[in-house]
């Protein structure tokens, strides 16, 4: 396989992991956060520092990045998850920006705004594929478990979920931490693939892009998120000329989707064998009707 194709697949894989985190948080728990790029940055910098300064094996740095992201999400969640939507969103946004500002400020450790160079390239296609399979499996099993159903209950009606005895604070925290771990995971893989990271890579736009991908894929659909990530990552690669207009299209697409078809591409449905069968049946029925009319 040529290096270019391999690179694109690795990029899609890393994006899928980050987007799955946002999908669990926004699509399944209805918590809208701008902090995921911040968690990616934490994962990326932690793992990079562990690899280069402490000579840790890659797996340890990867886990280290995820662990630190989880710890910080626990602390942040404790402070902010009790707040209403707007307030939660602005504090996560503040967290993301603070992370960036702090990384720039802690120049001796992180390389400041110039970036952190000299990270060995440890992320291979094999590792990314394993990570993606693992990430999808964990997300799927989590969402189909008792925990996942509790998250969906919180999404549909938080007060009602509270009333039937779901500890909403605890489950929102769970969702937030899982999402942060996914972001840290993606960040660590990203750092060890590109070998060079700067704080600007993890700014507000990155967080928006993650949420936009989830919305286009459909809130409440894992397969939708995966398909959307693949398409949106491939699009600028295949059509070089649209690369400049990419974000403009994303913005317009999100506004159109959320106003006209808020469920997105795959809202609340998963792509599966039975879903395809149903679709085919519907299409056949449509054709039959048309024939009868004719």
């Amino acid at each position: 396989m040529s290096g270019y194709v391999e690179g694109v697949i690795i990029l899609i894989g890393i994006n899928i992991i980050a987007v799955l985190g946002v999908s669990i948080l926004t699509g399944f728990t209805r918590l809208f956060s701008f902090g995921n790029a911040g968690f990616m940055a934490i994962g990326a910098y932690t793992s990079a520092i562990l690899t280069t300064k402490f000579n840790m094996p890659f797996i340890i740095s990867l886990l280290g990045g995820m662990f630190v992201a989880a710890l910080i999400s626990l602390a942040l969640g404790k402070l902010t998850l009790g707040l209403k939507g707007d307030y939660f969103l602005i504090t996560t946004l503040g967290f993301g920006e603070c992370t960036r500002v702090l990384i720039e400020f802690l120049d001796p450790i992180t390389g400041g705004a110039r970036g952190y160079a000299g990270i060995p390239q440890k992320t291979t296609l094999f590792i990314v594929l394993i990570s993606v399979v693992l990430a999808i499996t964990v997300a799927r099993n989590l969402l189909n478990s008792k925990y996942g159903r509790n998250l969906k209950a919180i999404r549909e009606q938080e007060i009602a979920a509270d009333a039937v005895g779901i500890d909403t604070a605890r489950f929102k925290q769970l969702s937030f931490t899982v999402s942060a771990v996914y972001a840290g995971w993606a960040g660590a893989l990203f750092a060890h693939y590109y070998m060079f990271i700067t704080p600007v890579m993890f700014n507000l736009d990155k967080s928006s892009e993650l949420t936009i991908t989830v919305v286009i894929g459909g809130l409440g659909s894992l397969t939708g998120s995966i398909i959307a990530t693949t398409v949106l990552t491939l699009l600028p690669e295949v059509l070089r000329s649209v690369a400049n207009y990419r974000m403009l299209f994303y913005g317009i697409a999100v506004v159109l989707i959320i106003t006209l078809r808020p469920n997105g591409l795959m809202g609340y449905k998963e792509l599966s064998a039975s879903w395809i069968k149903n679709l085919l049946l519907q299409i056949r029925r449509m054709f039959r009707c048309r024939k009868e009319v004719a």
């Binding site: 946004l93 503040g94 967290f95 920006e97 603070c98 500002v101 936009i212 999100v254 959320i258 106003t259």
Partner: protein
């Protein structure tokens, strides 16, 4: 030095106040924070810039066009996106996502069609400073402060003394009851978006005059948002007070500590307020935030 910094803080705080009142007005009616508000300010700044620099209109006319243009863009946001989502009875999160989408759209529209360059307004207002003893105040700062004071006083009068203000206060206290009492809610929401958009446009033009005009300048409105949270979301008076406090604090942090950590302090303040007094200085509805 101290008083000089205070003057600078008040000057930037005034511009934040222009944007924060818009946030507060929209929040008090629709219960969501309009993230695209800052980008409306950015578009206002661009409209003003294009009128002055390209069309070569006189400044007062350009500023007026910018205000009206920003107001119209703000109304269009409401008509084309938010209103449909409200009609669907969709969760508030959808409004916020739509606002994020609009914000991304506007920023990238400007990048694609006008370019990502930083632009400076031609010197329409003399770049001079008046010395009062040891303190220096720029002519532009005086102009912008005067504008802010006039605009805020008019807004205060509008809200407390007129029928329009009464209708808005009624609608923000309970929209359904207000509409049963014969208030045309959609009409007043449109007016509020016009007002908020024009204020944002004015803020954008003043920011553009003071610094530069560029596609991401709307992100400054985050400070305005924090100001309106600080004062209590939905409270116009709180937003004005909050904006001045944030402006002054920022100038002091950059002046006496380090400018690199300015935003860290602002966001730290935000989190601290939300933890200590989530309803803000003048907020009312506590029960659904905690």
């Amino acid at each position: 030095m101290f008083i000089q910094q205070l003057v600078n803080g008040v000057s930037i705080g005034g511009i934040y106040a222009l944007m924060a009142t818009g946030y507060a007005l929209i929040y008090s009616l629709l219960g969501f924070s309009n993230w695209a508000h800052g980008d409306v300010a950015m578009l206002g700044a661009y409209i003003g810039f294009l009128c002055v620099a390209t069309v070569r209109m006189p400044f007062w006319l350009s500023a007026l066009t910018a205000l009206l243009g920003a107001g119209v863009i703000s109304i269009l946001n409401e008509r084309l996106a938010y209103r449909r989502i409200r009609r669907n009875n969709a969760p508030t999160m959808f409004l916020m996502i739509a606002a994020m989408g609009l914000s991304v759209t506007f920023q990238n529209m400007v990048i694609v069609f006008l370019g990502p360059k930083f632009r400076t307004y031609p010197p329409v207002i003399p770049v001079k400073a008046i010395s009062l003893g040891s303190i220096k105040i720029g002519v532009l700062d005086i102009f912008s402060m005067a504008f802010v004071i006039i605009a805020m006083s008019l807004l205060e009068l509008l809200i407390t003394k007129t029928k329009f203000g009464l209708a808005i206060r009624a609608a923000s206290s309970n929209m359904i009851t207000a509409s049963l009492m014969g208030i045309n809610i959609d009409f007043y929401i449109t007016l509020v978006f016009l007002l908020a958009g024009s204020f944002a446009g004015a803020g954008g033009v003043l920011l553009g005059l003071k610094y530069t005009v560029y596609p991401q300048m709307g992100n400054v409105s985050l400070k305005a948002f924090i100001a309106s949270v600080f004062g209590g979301l939905g409270s116009v008076r709180g937003a004005i007070v909050g904006a001045f406090i944030i402006g002054i604090m920022e100038v002091f942090v950059s002046g006496f500590i380090t400018s690199g950590l300015r935003d860290l302090f602002t966001f730290g303040l935000l989190i601290a307020i939300l933890l200590i007094k989530p309803s803000g200085l003048f907020g009312i509805d506590i029960q659904d935030k905690a």
